[in-house]
Every structure is written in structure tokens, then in C-alpha cells.
């Protein structure tokens, strides 16, 4: 009894903290300088990409290198439809297009496990990128496209909304039967299938849900770049960044990827302005160090400290 009231009290406190943070973020454009709003929008972008990546790849252990594909589909939806449809509908279309692509890809790649899945998803991004470039050059005769401009404050609020919805979705998936099914797939896929989990269905649906948010993000973020082409929209960096940020933050807890992505995006901003020539080098070093020495990410490290450094304390897989 004691423990349950304690945990509910604790979760109440953390819930109210989250609520306060969101209220602060919602009124931020009223008082903060423009630069902060733009920086926060970038942070939201990476946070959403990372958290939605973790929804599928975190519990199942399938390393998806397809975020760039879904993000890029969102960007292109925005570039094609942005001039003829209102913004909210464009974003919905971007999200749905990515969702459908993920359903298709998921259904096709079910048999691939482990590293095959990773290299397939990686190849997919490159395939779309080159095919699209070829089509653009031969059909439209131009390499890139112009995207309509949207006010920065609106972009900020849209990203904030996507972020909030994603957090709720992620939270409920973790606590639902779907979340348990995903965990069991990650631990032993065959055993999960034998205990009655519809492995195929669970994987495809979750993959598509994660793609949905990436597509929505792509559709709104495209408006910030004004000009896009297949190489910028389907940049494989958008596939690797979420993976890196998730590892850096730690995937065991819901807020791990959020913290990882937020810190990393800020770091990217600082490094890019101060040390433009060393930025990618430092990026690589952090990646290697994080993989070697931070198996549970920043959150895992914090938990380790809190638990008084008990031997071999690993974060949840």
C-alpha cells in the first residue's frame, strides 16, 4: 500500500513538472528572443525524430536506419502540396504518407532480422533519394523545389504540439499491451510468437506509428528551409542522428531520448558556430565514446550514480 501511494505521489509530481514545462514552453514565444524560438524548434525536431525512433527500435532492438526516408517523405509532401493546401492538411498528408510507406516497408521486411533490417532500411533511403533525383531531373527538369514560407512562431507551435502528442503516444504505448508485446519481441521473437503475440502485426503497426510522427515533422520543418532537393531531404544523417541521440540519452526511460536529443542539438548548435571544422569530428568521437562507455546512456549513468554504483548495474535494455 505504502509503495503504491508513494509511486502515485511521485508520478503526480513528475506529471505536474512536465505540465509546467509545457506551459512554460507554450508561452515562450511571447517573451523569448527569436533566436531561442528557432533553436527550440530545431531541438523539438530532433527530439521528435529520436523519440519516435525509440518507440519502435528501443524495445524491439531492430535498428531502423529509415528515419531519413520518412522525414524526407514529409518534406516532399510539404513541397508538393504546400502551395495548394492549408498547412494543417499538408502536415496530416505528410504524416499519412510516411505512415503508409512504413506499412509497406514493414510488411515487406518482416522476414529480415538483425543487421539485414538495418542495411535494408539504409538502402531504402538511398534508393528513394537517387530515384527521386532522377525523376526530378527528367520529369520537372529541375533539381530541387521551393517550399512556402511559414511564420517561425507557427512552426514552433506545430512542433510543440507534435512533441506533446508524441510524448503521450509513447507513454501509452509503453504502458499498453502493445508495449509489452514489443518488449517480448525484443527479448525473444520466437518465444513472443509462441505466447500468442501477433509479431507481424505489432511490428508493422509500431513501425508505422513511429513513421507517422517523422512524416509530420518533415512536413512542417520543410517550411523552414525554403529550398529542398532530394539530397538535403533524404540526407542519411537524419537516420543516424536519432540513433545516436537515443543511445546518448539512454533508451530505458521515456525521457532519456528527450534529454539526449535536446543536449545533442544544443551541442550541435554551439559546435557548428564555434568550431565548424571540428564539428563532425567531435560528433564522431562522442558517438564512439557513448557506445563504448555509456551502454545505458546519460539516464543510465544517472541511475547508476543514484543506486550507489552497485556492481554491473545496467539500465533496462
Amino acid at each position: 500500500m505504502d509503495i503504491s501511494t508513494l509511486t502515485s505521489k511521485r508520478s503526480l509530481i513528475s506529471e505536474s513538472i512536465i505540465l509546467i514545462i509545457f506551459i512554460l514552453l507554450a508561452i515562450l514565444p511571447l517573451y523569448a528572443p527569436r533566436y531561442t524560438v528557432i533553436l527550440l524548434t530545431s531541438i523539438f525536431m530532433y527530439v521528435v525524430l529520436t523519440v519516435s525512433w525509440v518507440i519502435f527500435s528501443g524495445p524491439t532492438g531492430y535498428i531502423s536506419l529509415a528515419p531519413a526516408a520518412f522525414f524526407g517523405v514529409g518534406i516532399y509532401t510539404s513541397a508538393i502540396l504546400g502551395k495548394i493546401l492549408p498547412l494543417p492538411i499538408v502536415i496530416c498528408f505528410g504524416a499519412l504518407a510516411s505512415f503508409c510507406l512504413a506499412l509497406l516497408v514493414g510488411a515487406l521486411t518482416l522476414r529480415l532480422r538483425g543487421i539485414y533490417f538495418a542495411i535494408f532500411t539504409f538502402g531504402l533511403v538511398e534508393f528513394i533519394r537517387h530515384l527521386l533525383l532522377f525523376l526530378e531531373l527528367t520529369v520537372t527538369g529541375r533539381r530541387g523545389r521551393l517550399v512556402i514560407l511559414v511564420d517561425q512562431t507557427i512552426v514552433y507551435y506545430v512542433m510543440l504540439a507534435i512533441f506533446a502528442i508524441l510524448l503521450l503516444t509513447s507513454y501509452f504505448i509503453r504502458r499498453s499491451k502493445l508495449g509489452l508485446a514489443l518488449q517480448s519481441i525484443g527479448q525473444n521473437e520466437d518465444a513472443a510468437a509462441h505466447t500468442g503475440v501477433n509479431v507481424t502485426m505489432v511490428k508493422v503497426i509500431t513501425f508505422a506509428i513511429s513513421a507517422f510522427f517523422m512524416g509530420a515533422t518533415g512536413a512542417i520543418m520543410a517550411t523552414r528551409w525554403t529550398y529542398i532537393d532530394p539530397y538535403t531531404a533524404f540526407n542519411p544523417l537524419y537516420s543516424f542522428m536519432p540513433v545516436l541521440m537515443a543511445i546518448f540519452g539512454g533508451m530505458g526511460q521515456l525521457f532519456g531520448p528527450v534529454i539526449g536529443a535536446a543536449i545533442f542539438t544544443y551541442l550541435e548548435e554551439v559546435l557548428l558556430t564555434r568550431f565548424p571544422y571540428y564539428y563532425m569530428l567531435i560528433f564522431g568521437i562522442i558517438l564512439v565514446v557513448a557506445i563504448l562507455y555509456l551502454p545505458g546512456g546519460l539516464v543510465g549513468l544517472a541511475q547508476k550514480w543514484r543506486k550507489g554504483d552497485l556492481a554491473e548495474q545496467h539500465a533496462n535494455p
Partner: protein
């Protein structure tokens, strides 16, 4: 017509020789050392730049510098495995977890090596002229340097095959590829052998890079495209199969040459399409069981 066919086929084989070499290296690193090495292309770039430097600064014949840049890159690869990947391998819970984390670590290596190279050599495109004259083969004309690269690719590939098949170390490598744990019980120093495999993989990449620098302009960001080619070839030949990768290299070279004859802009797209179809239809590769 006949000359055109000859032109396409030989051009494909010339490209295929380099593809085969780098794919064998990649396959060795994945098949035995279990590292899906995304930074493979960076070792190709290193090989190309070391050869270029030796030629420009000291005037060393590029074919001679194969013998210089090879060992350097072998040692770099060996040390990298001993420091980074051995630690990852021993701390991973399962082979699947190790494959995932080593792939991501190699992605970090890509950035490190590439950006160090940019700091040293800058981002400009570089190149030199070596054996740059035409050779007439039955009506079709090919550059002599490219014919030399094909010859060397085949010789290096064959030599490595003999090394694997005939020597004691080769046997240890084959044993480690089949089952590292059992190989360890049989007295194979597994950490050493895996590190050597990674080193040999890097060596192949270095050789490939040195040969590439004889025919094509080079720059520090050139590596990644070759990594992608290596991944495709290895999937084509079957992940982990050295012979499959060697043959797959030539097959991909031919496909690329045929496609770019019809539509130059589509050759990369064709590679990926082939790659995706293969993974879906026959993930074990054309020679796989």
C-alpha cells in the same frame, strides 16, 4: 555492335575488379569479425591519399606504394579492433547486440577518419596521372591504368584466397568465421585472429583505394560511396561469403556498366533496386544456401 558489347563488358569488369576487392575486405570484416563496417570506405580513402602523397612528394610509383600503404592500413585496422571492437565484443550480451553497436561505432569512426583527413588534406579534389594512355582491345579503347587495376585486383584476390585456403592462419580465420567460441577452444587466439581479420579487411580497402587513385580523382569524402557499393556487393554475394563477394563485385560492375550505357543517371538507382530486391527475395545472396 560487337565492339559496343565488348566496350560495355570490359568496362564493367574493370569497375568490377575494384568493387570485388573492396567487397572482399568488407565481407571479411563482417563475416568473421562481425563488424558491419560503415567506415570501410574511409580506409579506401586513406589508401588513395597515402598513395597520392607518396607519388606527389616522393615520386613513388603507385604500384610500389601498394606495399607501403598496405601495411600501414593493416596496422591501423588491427589496432582499432584491439582497442575499440574487442572491448565492445566482450561487453555485449549477444552477437546481435554486438553487431548493432559495432555498426554504430564504425559510423562514428567514419566521421572521425573523414574529418581528420579533411583537416590534413582539405576538401579539394586531387589526382595524378599514371599510365594514362589508351590500349586497343579488339576495337574498343581502354586506359592502361584501369587495365592494370583489374590485373592487380585479380592477383590480390587470388593471393588472399590462397592464403585463406592454404596457410595455418587462414585456417584459423576460417574456423573463427564458422564458430568463434569453438575455434577458441581449439587453441585459436580469437581476439588476435578477429583483429587480424579486421586489419586484412582494411588492407583490402587500402589496396582498393590505392588502385582507385590511379584512375579517378580523389577527395576525403569519397569513401562513403564505396562503402555503399561494398554493402550492395556483399549482399549480392551473400553476407560473409568471401568468394561470393569477389564474384559479386564483377557482377555489380557489369550491371552498372550495362545500366549506365542506357541511362547514366540511373546506375546508382539500379544498384539500390537490385539490393532491395535481393534482400527481400534472397537475403543469403546469389551463391548462398
Amino acid at each position: 555492335m560487337l565492339v559496343e558489347i565488348l566496350d560495355i563488358v570490359v568496362a564493367g569488369l574493370l569497375m568490377g575488379g575494384i568493387y570485388a576487392l573492396i567487397a572482399v575486405g568488407f565481407s571479411l570484416q563482417y563475416g568473421v569479425a562481425r563488424v558491419l563496417n560503415i567506415s570501410h570506405g574511409e580506409f579506401i580513402m586513406l589508401g588513395a591519399f597515402i598513395t597520392w602523397m607518396l607519388y606527389k612528394v616522393l615520386g613513388v610509383n603507385p604500384l610500389v606504394s601498394l606495399a607501403i600503404c598496405g601495411p600501414i592500413i593493416l596496422i591501423i585496422g588491427f589496432l582499432l579492433y584491439r582497442t575499440l571492437f574487442t572491448r565492445l565484443r566482450t561487453s555485449s550480451e549477444s552477437i546481435g547486440a554486438y553487431e548493432g553497436s559495432s555498426m554504430l561505432a564504425s559510423f562514428g569512426l567514419l566521421f572521425i577518419i573523414q574529418n581528420v583527413a579533411i583537416l590534413i588534406w582539405g576538401t579539394d579534389i586531387k589526382g595524378y596521372s599514371y599510365l594514362n594512355f589508351g590500349v586497343n582491345l579488339g576495337g574498343a579503347i581502354f586506359a592502361a591504368n584501369r587495365l592494370v587495376t583489374l590485373l592487380f585486383a585479380v592477383v590480390i584476390g587470388a593471393a588472399f584466397y590462397l592464403f585463406l585456403a592454404r596457410t595455418r592462419l587462414g585456417k584459423a580465420i576460417r574456423a573463427a568465421a564458422q564458430d568463434p567460441v569453438t575455434a577458441g577452444f581449439m587453441g585459436v587466439n580469437i581476439n588476435q585472429v578477429l583483429a587480424l581479420c579486421f586489419g586484412f579487411g582494411a588492407l583490402m580497402a587500402g589496396f582498393g583505394g590505392a588502385l582507385i587513385s590511379m584512375c579517378y580523382p580523389i577527395q576525403p569524402t569519397m569513401g562513403f560511396q564505396y562503402t555503399i557499393i561494398a554493402i550492395i556487393v556483399v549482399v549480392l554475394g551473400g553476407l560473409g561469403s568471401m568468394v561470393g563477394s569477389f564474384i559479386g563485385g564483377f557482377v555489380l560492375g557489369l550491371i552498372g556498366s550495362i545500366v549506365s550505357y542506357w541511362q547514366p543517371g540511373l546506375s546508382l538507382t539500379a544498384y539500390y533496386l537490385l539490393f532491395i530486391v535481393l534482400l527481400l527475395a534472397k537475403p543469403t545472396g546469389i551463391l548462398g544456401k
